[in-house]
Amino acid sequence: MTALLLDRVGVTYPGAATPTLRDVTLAVPEGELCLVVGPTGSGKSTLLRAACGLVPHFTGGTLTGRVVVAGRDTRDHLPRDLADVVGVVGQDPAAGFVTGTVEDELAYAMEQLGVPPATMRTRVEQVLDLLGLASVRGRALADLSGGEQQRVAIGSVLTAGPRVLLLDEPTSALDPAAAEEVLAALTRLVHDLGLTVVVAEHRLERVVQYADHVVVVRPDGTVVDGDPERMLADVAGAPPIVELGRWAGWVPLPLSVRDARRRAAGLRADLGHLAPPAPEDAPAVAATLLRARGVHVHHGSGPVGRPLWRTARPGAVVHAVRGVDLEVGAGEVVAVMGRNGAGKSSLLWALSGAGRRSAGAVAVAADAGGISPGAPDGTAAGEAVLDPAAVAPDEARRHVALVPHDPAALLFRERVADELADADADARPGAAAAVLAEPAALAVQLAARPRVLLLDEPTRGLDYPAKRRLTALLRRHAADGGAVVVSSHDVEFVAETADRVVVLAGGEVVADGPAARVLTASPTFAPQVARVLHPVPVLTVDALRRALGAAS
């Protein structure tokens, strides 16, 4: 039986010159986990929204062809009339919450459908158990972690008893451990309840091993679909494990670390044969550009970054960053990792001078030279340093610039071109043009030519080619004598980009060292290639190529 059927579907949004989806014919059988992949902006979300009737009933636009979900045609069923057969979870789960607490949220859809109270009680209990939410059942939704919120969002559509579940980037905001949690819950739903799950996701490395079926949305809005092995053989952005498989010529391609590891025995032997690849030495740091000493950040006495009513509670002060020391040299790309809420953003904001800093000192090199490394505190005589929090914002951003987690907050002109023109007026002309292809917020911040660049979770929603461009840009910034500090959950991106990794937990630095060493130290933070090749400390396919190339 077909759970979801799209028959020659085309979608054109109002005011758009070209259709977002064209001639999509697709049948998803019941009980499958179907993965929708494609470049950023190719229409993955549109495909999901068309499958639940939100396109075109909610968004407007023209839909041609036929969409049938669980036997109901979206032409004569509104989204609300499909609520009992199809559940949809958007990109930001918190944005879809209607009520205040976990239990109420789980019951909301059932209340709308008029499910009898006794049935509601049982279903809520079942879903609490199924998704491992029983321990947070009475909590306020705003107090939950990202992974918990995502699971509540899934549970809130699951209680209505749908046959099809549509998820838009369910793991993009989550740290690796929380993502595992959510994916484990999803596979349980597919295997234990026979649910049909359609997932759109950029981070293929997390999901692809669970997929039964892959749908590739091409930039022109057409789709192809088939077995994961076949579809991934030639898709442009592939997870590292597939790249490794392609490079090694393995057929069929391995999709999970387990498959790849079984095949890689020979490769590991070859590599072991070589001198054990020395962990790449920390690059010789010419000069320190940014130094933080004993930085503490307390949140809670102001409305920044949390709901207003939560700040009024006395004693609700969060000690987000606890005495962090950090030195970043010219030419270095440092990644800050750690689970959701570990204090990564607070640290970056404190370093930028724009955020709260309760204690400690931050110094940024103010002239062409740097701060002499290792000077205890204060500086050697004659060095020009400044504290970004102590100078005017305009001055600070010429030395250290932060691209926040939500870059839209940085932009307020109607068009990207206006933003860049405005950014130009702020600083030297011409700087922005070179990076037009990159996200506008980054371009705006780069326009002031800061030497120290801080980025908070820059890879959310980026596909593999865009991530590669970002990596190239950051590496170039470092090569030109700048320094980059980037916080990320994206292990693969960090493996490609960073020289050094700092791991935060509970606001403290728990690990600080070369990327190859820190990333291979624990399985959670290890990139796929490192898991396959363990104990050989190689992080990426490129590094593997280089290692073998140097050896031969």
């Binding site: 609520a83 944005a95 909301y108 909590r139 970054g305 509670r313 939500d406 307020f412």
Partner: protein, 349 residues
């Protein structure tokens, strides 16, 4: 969060608001205020809305100050011992009788302060209701017919803090761009992303609600409900005004009762079209009745107070205080089965 039915707290608070409005003197109003503050302090606990209660108290102070300032500025000055002899500024000919400033007397000042105090207490009663009973939970108790309205209010309640948060985030981000944080340019630069953000959030929320079956259509539309509901609201408003501000005659009571009856009829009519159920509805039991009754008792005492004569004003005030503050006693309301939520240890956080 305490486990009582939210409407019990609203009934208690509304009765106290009536008591404050009709109280026979400053002492009785003070008694109401003291009772309200005491109960909130003891019972509200760590509920998110309870943290806003101090803001209501500050609002009350602001109301008293504003009332007194208005009295000094434009109020009619009664004779009495002059406290501050300000010159009277007569208005132009077309505004006969409007005087600005004028001699400030102790009597006038005391009357103005008392009136402000009464109004402030009324406001604090509302604050207490929202502190003790989460408005979201109170709205869960509304009949199915007005449930869409209830949902709209719930969203409005949660959106206001979100907008404040978004504004703070944007202001912080502006600093990253080195913007001067003052002036019209800064306002524009803040307002644009904040409203875009609010709009995006509302759209995401609306999409989520639509996809989860909100406002599923059931049955045909009927034309009777609207007019009946409108009539009921008018009658309710007139009755409430009569009770709070005008002479508390039979007319206002009749209007109130008629309004209530019409509203109930309209809700039943409209409720037929809506097929929805409620998850774990709050139950009304003995403790709820006792809380509501204590409020009602305070109101009755305040209404009857003037008949007992001025010499017993102190006694009336004491009785009002005792009645109003009764819910602060744990034994009165923490009976077993006080509400479904009390049974859950997680919910008690």
């Amino acid at each position: 969060m305490n486990g009582l039915h939210p409407l019990a707290w609203w009934a208690w608070a509304m009765a106290l608001a009536l008591a404050a409005a009709r109280a026979p003197g400053v002492w009785a109003v003070t008694a109401v205020l003291a009772g309200v503050v005491l109960v909130v302090a003891v019972r509200a606990g760590e509920a998110p809305m309870a943290r806003l209660f101090p803001a209501y108290l500050l609002l009350g102070v602001a109301i008293v100050v504003a009332r007194v300032l208005f009295h000094v500025l434009v109020g009619i000055k009664p004779p009495g011992p002059v406290l501050l002899d300000l010159p009277t500024v007569r208005g132009p000919d077309w505004a006969v009788g409007v005087h600005l400033l004028g001699p400030v007397t102790t009597t006038g000042l005391a009357t103005a302060a008392a009136a402000g105090f009464q109004l402030a207490t009324l406001v604090v009663c509302f604050g207490a209701a929202s502190a003790l009973a989460d408005p979201r939970r109170a709205l869960r108790a509304v009949p199915g017919a007005v449930h869409r309205l209830g949902t709209a209010v719930v969203i409005a309640v949660s959106v206001t803090p979100q907008i404040a948060t978004a504004a703070a985030t944007v202001r912080r981000a502006q600093r990253l761009r080195g913007r001067p944080e003052r002036g019209w340019r800064a306002v524009r630069a803040t307002a644009m992303p904040v409203f875009t953000d609010a709009l995006d959030r509302s759209l995401a929320l609306a999409a989520s609600m639509d996809a989860r079956g909100f406002a599923r259509s059931t049955g045909p539309r009927d034309r009777l409900t609207g007019p009946v509901l409108a009539g009921a609201l008018v009658a309710l408003a007139l009755g409430a005004y009569g009770l709070l501000a005008g002479p508390a005659g039979v007319g206002s009571v009749v209007a109130l009762l008629a309004g209530t009856a019409a509203a109930t009829a309209a809700l039943v009519l409209a409720g037929r079209r809506v097929h929805r159920t409620r998850y774990r509805p709050d139950r009304w039991g003995g403790p709820e009745t006792r809380v509501a009754a204590s409020g009602a008792l305070a109101a009755v005492l305040a209404l009857l107070g003037p008949r007992l004569g001025d010499e017993r004003a102190g006694l009336v005030a004491l009785l009002v205080l005792a009645a109003a503050a009764a819910p602060a006693l744990g034994g009165l309301t923490a009976a077993p089965g006080a509400g479904p939520r009390l049974a859950l240890p997680e919910a008690a956080r």
